[in-house]
C-alpha cells in the first residue's frame, strides 16, 4: 500500500536578509513526509535543517514555493491561522526543552492541551497516561521544570508535544542538551511513540539519534543531497548501523 504523504513541499525556498544581503537557506526543495515515518533530517551546520523543520511545521513561512500539510496549503496562512493550525496538527520537542519555568510539569502539558478545547478531565487522564508511558513518575507531575533532570524535563516536553494527538511531532535536536543516559531515555520514548503510529520528523546532527529514524534525509546547502531508507529501528542491528554510516560517509558527513 503506498504511503500517505502528510507533508508535501513544492519548490520550497526560504531566504533571510542578513545585513541587506539575501541568504538562501532552502533552495527549491521538493519533499514528501509520510505518515507513520520517523524521518530524520541531517546535514552539516548551516545546511538548513532547522529552517526546513520550522517551515514544514508552520512555525516559519516559506519565501517561495508551497507547503501542503494534511492536504491544506499552509503557505499563505496568517500568523494566527498558523498558530491555530499548529495547535491542532503539530507537536514540538525542542533542544532547549522550553517548558515554562513558572508552571508545573502538569500545567505545562495542560496549557498545550486546553488550547484545542478538549474536556479537561479527559485531558488530565490522557496526560497521566502519557506521563506513565514516558516514565515520569506521579511525584514529578506537580514539580516545576527546574526541579527535574534534563532527561525528565525533555520527556515532559514530549508529553506536551503528544497531548493533542498531533498529526506530526517535530523534534529539533531533542537530545542536544542532554547527557548520554538521558539521551537514550528520550530516544527510547520517541521510538516507542513512533512504533505506536506517531509520525515524527527529527532534526539531528548526532548519529546515535539518527539511527532511530527509518528514513534519513541529508541536506547540503539547502537542498536534499540524498535519502536513505533504514527500515524499522532494531536495537543492536549492526547491518542497519553500517548502512547509515555508509550513507553518511557518501554524503560527506
Amino acid at each position: 500500500m503506498p504511503e500517505k504523504s502528510m507533508i508535501k513541499t513544492e519548490k520550497l525556498c526560504k531566504s533571510f536578509s542578513v545585513g541587506g544581503v539575501q541568504q538562501h537557506i532552502i533552495k527549491n526543495l521538493d519533499l514528501d513526509i509520510y505518515e507513520g515515518d520517523f524521518t530524520v533530517i541531517m546535514g552539516s551546520s548551516g545546511a538548513g535543517k532547522s529552517t526546513l523543520l520550522y517551515a514544514l511545521s508552520g512555525m516559519d513561512r516559506a519565501s517561495l514555493g508551497r507547503i501542503l500539510f494534511c492536504d491544506k496549503d499552509i503557505t499563505h496562512f496568517t500568523s494566527d491561522q498558523l498558530a491555530i493550525f499548529r495547535r491542532r496538527h503539530c507537536g514540538f520537542v525542542f533542544q532547549q526543552i522550553h517548558l515554562i519555568e513558572t508552571m508545573s510539569v502538569m500545567d505545562n502539558v495542560l496549557s498545550a492541551g486546553m488550547l484545542t478545547g478538549q474536556n479537561k478531565k479527559r485531558l488530565v487522564q490522557n496526560a497521566k497516561q502519557l506521563f506513565e508511558q514516558v516514565g515520569i513518575h506521579e511525584t514529578l507531575w506537580r514539580k516545576f521544570p527546574n526541579q527535574l533532570s534534563g532527561g525528565e524535563a525533555q520527556r515532559a516536553g514530549i508529553v506536551r508535544a503528544l497531548i493533542n494527538s498531533p498529526d506530526m511531532v517535530f523534534a529539533d535536536e531533542p537530545t542536544g542538551a542532554l547527557n548520554s543516559a538521558s539521551s537514550d531515555a528520550v530516544l527510547n520514548v520517541l521510538t516507542q511513540v513512533n512504533r505506536s503510529g506517531q509520525s515524527i520528523v527529527m532534526v539531528t546532527h548526532d548519529m546515535k539519534s539518527a539511527r532511530r529514524g527509518n528514513r534519513i534525509i541529508y541536506l547540503k546547502d539547502g537542498s536534499i543531497c540524498g535519502e536513505c531508507d533504514l527500515g524499522s529501528y532494531v536495537s543492536g542491528d549492526r547491518e542497519r548501523h553500517e548502512k547509515l554510516q555508509d550513507f553518511l560517509h557518501r554524503m560527506g558527513w
Binding site: S50, Y54, M59, D60, S79, D80, A83, I84, F85, R86, R87, R88, C90, F92, F94, Q96, H98, L99, I100, E101, T102, M103, D107, L110, S111, A112, M114, L115, R160
Partner: protein, 464 residues
C-alpha cells in the same frame, strides 16, 4: 488556559507585582478618599439643609426695625417663609481650663462675639440639630455649635469659664448642635431661658427709656426662599434694600457659608486626588517598561507558547489580565481601607466642616476610582504588549538571548579600582539603568507625596 498563563506570569513577576500592588493600594486609597470627600461634602450641605430645615439666608438686624423688616419681607416675592428670633449679642472672653494671667496658645483667653438665644425657644426654620446632648441637668447649661466645639476644643460636660460685661460666668456645656448658617461663624449659642432673660432685661435697662422696648434688641430673620431662587442674588438684593431703608444689619447666605466651610475639604480632596494620579501615573510608566523588559527576558517562553499554538492575542491577554487583575484587587483593598480610615478622618474634617458627615457608600467615587485605576492598567498593559504581535516564534526560540545587546563594558574590572563586590554592583546598576532610574523616580515621588501628606495632615487636621 489563559488563567494558567496569568498565574504563571504572576509567579514569574511576583516581587514586582507585589510592589505594584502596594503602590496601587496607596494610590486607590488617596483617590477614593479624595473623591469621597469631594462628592460627600458637596452633597452634605444640601442634605443637611433639608434635614435641619436650614435657612437659605439669615438677616441679622442691629437696630429698631421690626416693622420695616416685616414690610420688606412680606413684599419680597422671592421669600417663601421666614421666622424671627430674638438674640442677645455679648462679647465673651472665654477662658479655658488651665488659664492664668499671661497664658499663651491653647491656654490663652479667646474673644468671642456670641449671639445668645434662649434654649428651647425656636421654631421650624434654622432650629438647632443636636448631635451631642448630655442627659444630666445642669444649673447653668450652655449649648454650643460644633463650630465652637472644634474652635475651642471643648467637650460635653466641660466648664465654660468666661467673662461677659465684666462679670465672671461658669457654664457647663450641655450639648453641641449643628446648623449651617447659625451653627457656624455666626457663633450662636443657647443658654437657659432664665439666664437669657436676665441679660435681656439688663440690656433693656441699660438702654434706658428709649421708647420702643425692642430698640437695641437684635433679631435674626431666618428666611426660606421660594423654589428656584438664587440665595446669593436674593441676599444681595436684600442688603441693598436694607441700606435703602436705613436698617442696620447684614445678610449671610447659605451658599456663602457653604463655600467657606467646604474650602479646606476641597483643597484636601484635590491634593489627595492629585497625589493619587501622580503615583498612579508613575507606577503605570514603570509597568509599561516592566512589560517591555519582561517580554525581552521571557522571549523564549513567548516563542514556545507561539510554537504550541497560542496566538499573539492570547499571550497578550494573559499579560494584560496579570496587571488588570492586580489593579482590580488593589482597588478592592484600597477602597476597603478608604472606608476603614474614614471614621478616623471624619472627626478631623469636622474641624473645617462644622458638620457631622454621615458618610456612606458612594457609587460615583467607586466607579471613577475603578475606571481610572483599572482602566489605566488595562490600557498601559495593552500597549506595552504590542511588541508580542510582531515577535517571530523561530527568532524568539533561537535568538532569545540575542534580544539583549550589550555593547559597552561599563566599569571594566581590569581598569577600575575598588573591590569586586562593589564593581559588580556598579556594573549591574548601569546595565539595568532604565529600571533603576524608574525605581528612583518612583521612590522620590512616593516619598515626596507621603511626606507632604503627613505634614499637611499634621498641620491642618491634628495641630490646633
Amino acid at each position: 488556559m489563559i488563567i494558567r498563563l496569568v498565574k504563571s506570569n504572576i509567579r514569574n513577576d511576583f516581587g514586582q507585582i507585589i510592589s505594584y500592588f502596594l503602590i496601587l493600594i496607596l494610590s486607590v486609597w488617596m483617590l477614593h478618599t479624595g473623591l469621597m470627600i469631594l462628592f460627600g461634602y458637596g452633597r452634605l450641605y444640601a442634605e443637611k439643609q433639608v434635614e435641619l430645615n436650614g435657612s437659605d439666608l439669615v438677616i441679622r438686624t442691629l437696630s429698631d426695625s421690626a416693622q420695616e423688616m416685616a414690610q420688606l419681607l412680606r413684599a419680597d416675592t422671592s421669600i417663601r417663609d421666614y421666622e424671627r428670633y430674638e438674640i442677645v449679642n455679648k462679647e465673651v472672653t472665654y477662658r479655658p481650663d488651665g488659664y492664668e494671667e499671661g497664658s499663651k496658645n491653647g491656654y490663652a483667653e479667646r474673644e468671642l462675639n456670641v449671639l445668645f438665644e434662649p434654649y428651647g425657644e425656636w421654631g421650624e426654620i434654622e432650629a438647632p440639630g443636636f448631635v451631642e446632648q448630655s442627659a444630666e441637668e445642669y444649673d447653668n447649661p450652655i449649648y454650643l455649635s460644633l463650630y465652637e466645639k472644634t474652635n475651642l476644643g471643648v467637650e460635653l460636660g466641660d466648664t465654660f469659664h468666661c467673662q461677659i460685661s465684666g462679670k465672671e460666668y461658669s457654664f457647663t456645656i450641655a450639648g453641641f448642635f449643628e446648623q449651617i448658617i447659625t451653627g457656624g461663624m455666626m457663633e450662636v449659642a443657647f443658654v437657659s431661658p432664665e439666664q437669657y432673660n436676665e441679660w435681656r432685661e439688663k440690656l433693656i435697662k441699660d438702654m434706658g427709656n428709649m421708647g420702643d422696648m425692642e430698640y437695641g434688641i437684635p433679631y435674626l430673620y431666618c428666611v426660606r426662599l421660594a423654589g428656584g431662587e438664587n440665595d446669593a442674588a436674593a441676599g444681595g438684593e436684600l442688603m441693598t434694600e436694607l441700606g435703602n431703608r436705613g436698617i442696620m444689619g447684614y445678610v449671610v447666605t447659605h451658599s456663602m457659608t457653604v463655600s467657606q466651610y467646604s474650602y479646606m475639604q476641597n483643597i484636601i480632596a484635590a491634593i489627595l486626588s492629585a497625589f493619587a494620579l501622580v503615583i498612579t501615573g508613575v507606577s503605570l510608566i514603570i509597568i509599561y517598561f516592566k512589560i517591555s523588559n519582561s517580554i525581552e527576558q521571557n522571549i523564549t517562553n513567548i516563542g514556545a507558547l507561539k510554537a504550541l499554538g497560542y496566538t499573539s492575542a492570547q499571550i497578550r491577554l494573559s499579560m494584560v489580565l496579570e496587571f488588570t487583575l492586580t489593579a482590580a484587587v488593589a482597588c478592592a483593598a484600597g477602597v476597603g481601607i478608604s472606608y476603614g480610615t474614614l471614621p478616623f478622618l471624619e472627626p478631623r474634617l469636622r474641624h473645617f466642616a462644622y458638620m457631622v458627615w454621615d458618610y456612606r457608600f458612594d457609587p460615583t467615587a467607586l466607579f471613577l476610582t475603578v475606571v481610572l485605576i483599572v482602566g489605566a492598567a488595562m490600557l498601559v498593559s495593552f500597549f506595552g504588549t504590542k511588541s508580542i504581535v510582531a515577535l517571530d516564534p523561530v527568532q524568539a526560540l533561537r535568538f532569545g538571548l540575542r534580544a539583549h545587546s550589550f555593547r559597552k563594558n561599563h566599569f571594566p574590572i581590569e581598569a577600575t579600582g575598588g573591590s569586586l563586590t562593589w564593581l559588580l554592583a556598579l556594573k549591574a546598576s548601569v546595565q539595568n539603568r532604565k529600571q533603576n532610574i524608574m525605581l528612583v523616580g518612583l521612590m522620590l515621588v512616593v516619598g515626596f507625596v507621603s511626606t507632604f501628606s503627613v505634614f499637611l495632615g499634621y498641620n491642618t487636621i491634628y495641630k490646633k
